[in-house]
Amino acid sequence: PPMAGIVNQETLQQRLQALIEGARESWTYAIFWQSSVDVSNGASFLAWGDGYYKGCEEDKRKMLPSPATSAADQEHRKKVLRELNSLISGAAVAGEDAVDEEVTDTEWFFLVSMTQSFLNGAGFPGHVLFTAAPAWVAGTERLAAAGCERVRQAQTFGIQTMVCVPVGGGVVEFGSTDLIYQNIDIVDKVKVLFNFNFGGGG
């Protein structure tokens, strides 16, 4: 199993934000999948460590209903968000917590991601953990034809580019609704930002 390190949770969010906000390209989100070991069977897996959601142009036009999402889908998404709001605030949903704005596809994909985990070798992040090599998928057709369910799912929510990079203590994933071709700069930036994951962190 990968070296189980103590990931510096404190600076994780800032590093994810620095990765996305400091990039030349327009990335929609970034997630740190944290490596763990299932004590019951010794299997190593990846689970949600933290995430940074920047959003995209679609979020800014959110007053206009997205043609792809049915009214029923939207109602379901809003209901889930209301429940999450009350779960977090620990109180019944007040006016301020009501969810009126449309929940965009990429917001929904980011939320759904929080519920996911991947066995070593399984799924896009699990595959990258296993191979210990970065993976870059760009283009709607490529995402739609990918062998990983998570990549195909991302495409249905409007993601056109998905990248996973193995780092100390897990895998960093980031994606965009834009078509962004592979470039080494951002992969190197991930390694700089995240490979001091253990202990102090950078």
């Binding site: 949770q9 007053m63 999450l84 939320l111 929080m114």
Partner: protein
Amino acid sequence: DGDLPIARKKSLQRFLEKRKERCRAPPPDAG
């Protein structure tokens, strides 16, 4: 919410708060 892992809860909390702020902000073409 006791069984919501802390990492997910923190991320969810941050996401929901940022979303509220974004939704309060005037639309980009509000001039």
